[in-house]
Symmetry: C2
């Protein structure tokens, strides 16, 4: 027997309609490439979204077509986030930090029909333009220079639209709406295809106060996390849904420009990777009294979380640092380092210890850990296993890809993260599954060894890999980059570690190198180190 509730499809136009209906006077603010501040209201925004949507239809965009963007965080990018899915097409932001071979591969693999490109990013686009098949390119004018021949002018496209002809796509929440490619460290980038349903349900995740964020209409949110990376964590949709003021930094992500925007626009929440926030902290600390911030929360994610950052922002500036964890395959939000009722009774130092964990899964995300033999790991905070997840905004398969190695037989997604889960459900990532070292039947966390090595005063960077071993199958081996002017021996470093780990965890050797090889998005490229070691 079916329930007798309305068939109300959860599509992206419902988000925009709410903003238009209730928050028409609220503002969307952008720092333009020429540094001027552009501001308009949700009313202006929704009118332009409708014009862009109908103009795209006139240009021949049909349901299911992919429309790529090559853009910084700004109001026109937000317009594309809404206009494209509003006509049943799929908006597909390109990660400008990928190399141009990857970018052309992605555009051709996604078969993007139209590209929307920032004028200031045309030099990047020109590098791969000749190798992509997209029929139309729309350029967002941002400088005094003319838009080159052969390109459409974004503002003229918007002006050509007729808002009265706007017909929002509402027929099927399972239809595709948004697309991201992973910047995989191994193999080709892979496409993740989100549905209207997953985008809308995920937009709620940051509205839940039980995730300790709870974006609401009174908030002013500045996403440092790029809209070309994992949908800026979905925050543009969350903010539009709640009517929060949105502030976009454009191309200016340095500490000085961010702090001035925080101050002038009374930003209350920001979100980004720890590296950026570390830069902010240093800038603030250089002149701590001369800042007037309204920030109450920083959502940090994307890499391991330095404990001193949480402590410093809390103690010195009264800003709550909320660690959140996710993956492109998860829309991306999976977990947040919430302060539970139990934790709220602990002292500050214990709270900081928990703040750097990955935390508790958000509602609608289920988690479990499984070891090598497929057994569920106990929730004791010690046993390590690969984290598996499921939920309504988690991938079921990659785009145009039949491979099933990332999925379990019962349909869960294998994150590739090696974790412990404690008895309260707190997840803590210990390693990546391809990096964890399986030695004599036990697992050794390369990440834990690296972090410990990087705690040595002479060490700038360290990467630990598994090397083959006849007796133990695998053994840990460390590559170390020394700080300038410092010196230390392999034996001294291993002695340094011996106080912190069981004996069988200690690397057999540390080798000193000039730099750790990295991927185009800055992650350690351990496969290169494994190849290097194999050639020894």
């Amino acid at each position: 027997m079916k329930g007798l509730m309305m068939d109300y499809q959860l599509t992206i136009p419902t988000i925009m309609r709410r903003a238009e209906s209730l928050f028409s006077h609220k503002e969307i603010v952008t720092r333009l490439p020429d540094k001027r501040i552009h501001r308009y209201t949700y009313k202006d925004f929704s009118l332009r979204v409708k014009r862009l949507a109908t103009a795209l239809t006139e240009l021949g965009v049909e349901k299911g077509d992919r429309i790529a963007t090559l853009s910084w965080n700004h109001h026109q990018h937000l317009e594309a986030y809404f206009a494209v899915p509003s006509i049943g097409a799929v908006v597909h932001p390109l990660n400008i930090r990928l190399n141009h071979d990857d970018l052309s591969y992605i555009v051709n693999h996604a078969e993007d029909k139209v590209l929307v490109v920032d004028q200031v990013l045309l030099p990047l686009f020109e590098k791969f333009r000749s190798s992509v098949n997209s029929s139309r390119v729309i350029v967002i004018p941002q400088t005094n220079e003319a838009i080159p021949d052969g390109y459409l002018n974004y503002e003229q496209v918007v002006d050509s639209g007729d808002a009265s002809k706007f017909k929002p796509f509402e027929e099927d929440e399972y239809a595709a709406a948004f697309m991201c490619y992973t910047s995989g460290t191994t193999g080709k980038p892979k496409g993740v295809l989100y549905s209207h349903r997953s985008v809308v349900l995920h937009a709620m995740a940051f509205m839940f106060s039980c995730g300790d964020v709870g974006v609401n209409e009174r908030d002013v949110l500045l996403p440092v996390v790029p809209m070309f990376h994992a949908c800026a964590w979905g925050l543009p949709y969350t903010c539009t849904f709640t009517g929060a003021t949105q502030v976009f930094p454009g191309p200016y992500l340095d500490a000085d420009n961010l702090i001035s925007l925080f101050e002038k626009e009374r930003v209350t929440i920001t979100a980004g990777v720890p590296t950026v926030m570390l830069g902010l902290l240093n800038r603030l600390d250089a002149d701590p009294v001369n800042h007037d911030l309204a920030l109450h929360t920083m959502i940090l994610g994307g890499s391991a979380m330095p404990r001193h950052l949480v402590k410093a922002f809390d103690e010195r500036y009264g800003i709550r640092v909320l660690h959140s964890w996710g993956m492109t395959e998860m829309s991306p939000l999976g977990a947040t380092s919430v302060t539970t009722s139990k934790l709220s009774n602990e002292d500050k130092e214990t709270q900081y210890d928990y703040a750097i964990k990955q935390g508790l899964p958000v509602p609608f995300v289920e988690t479990r850990g499984r070891d090598d033999s497929g057994e569920l790991i106990p929730r004791n905070g010690i046993a390590m296993g690969e984290l598996e997840v499921r939920g309504p905004w988690i991938i079921s398969s990659y785009y145009k890809d039949q491979s099933r190695e990332k999925f379990t037989d019962d349909g869960w997604f294998k994150t590739g993260d090696i974790v412990t889960i404690d008895h309260d459900g707190f997840i803590e990532i210990k390693d990546r599954s391809k990096d964890v070292i399986k030695s004599g039947g036990e697992w050794i966390s390369s990440l834990a060894l690296e972090n410990a090595l990087m705690g040595h005063p002479a060490v700038l960077e360290a990467a630990v890999i598994a090397i083959p071993d006849e007796k133990w199958i695998e053994r840990p081996f460390a590559y170390v980059v020394l700080r300038e002017g410092q010196s230390v021996t392999s034996r001294e470093l291993i002695e340094f570690l011996s106080g912190m780990f069981a004996k069988f965890w200690l690397p057999d050797e540390c080798e000193f190198i000039d730099a750790i090889p990295r991927t185009s998005v800055g992650k350690f490229l351990k496969s290169a180190l494994r190849e290097r070691h194999a050639k020894r």
Copy 2:
């Protein structure tokens, strides 16, 4: 083109699984009929839910079957809330405040297969037992007396279940899960059939901080609103989803018992009708220093909101009173009187003015007002129209009822409330559509006149109805109940009103009566007054 996200159905077992997985140590507390405090954990709770679910299957309960409850707010009622939908059946709480003719009509109309009845409510059940066809009755033991012959013992039923055989219903979020009947003032009660999807999506609504509630795991929530009325506003599902501690008052809803539970269990949020909270306020005011409350929020709804209550709780006890508005047909939450960014810059008195309005619709609920001619009313806070709503947890049709008069041609639900909507989207109810007085082409709010009359020191109660008029079609007419020992004339009352309303709003006459006739749930029965006037 479909998105490539998991097919994760939003069913009620996903809520319980979250509590079991993450909040197993958190407590559910009940004041039993014998006044003892019962407490157990979510771990105990979920084990018993699984046992009850499998036991019900053994008893022959099948998917789609309706299982009624006749129960106060307590942990066993919560178990039924989860166990019944967990096997694909429909849990159907009966409103114990209805008269027994209505109750037997409802049980037979719903075709409830099993009834779960509080032992302390058996005297009520005996009044309509002979007129209902349900095959099985399960009694929750609550006193030292034996369960009468012919009834099953709830605890024995739970004990007979086998948790290891539990198979949660997850196949279709559109399947029916929960049922409520309206206590309509006209005609027979009507059934509202909620789906798993609507229950789960609605459970989120109270987790949104943008609704100014934001229940989270650190909260301790005591619902005074009965679980037999509009699903206790969905709070039992919200709390289980977030892991909030739940405190159930059992049959003891008087101020002294509530205050002692608030204090002992460190309750942070409560929810109920203004009348109950008024009783609380009086009790607290009688001895204001000797209370130690942890309450930060009171969610109030179900009838008009007295402004002085908001002000008193805020000023004297630092408790935020949040007015929320909804209907059984809306699961029930529709709107909350949020403090917007604009309002937060206003003075306290202005904030109180807004706090008693119905407020802004919650995310996923869309609203519009339409006048007699079907035109949308302007959002100016002046024009009156009937409020129409749509959203994923709003009724599409009544159970076993083909009538369409409550639905528009384009599928919106007609609330029957006459409202204004201001330019910020705030809804304010002015009347019920069947009570609004249509005089000479203008609408007159009977509610506004009643409230004004009840502001006169001599008046205890007043009800204003429309009477037929040859020239103006309808004119207002007031029935007034005087306070004991007070006197006033019809002319004096009309003069009293003349300073507050336009001349054409003033009632032609006030007639004095001993009591306003009421429905079984205490609402004014204006149809009886109209009949009375017709016989003059």
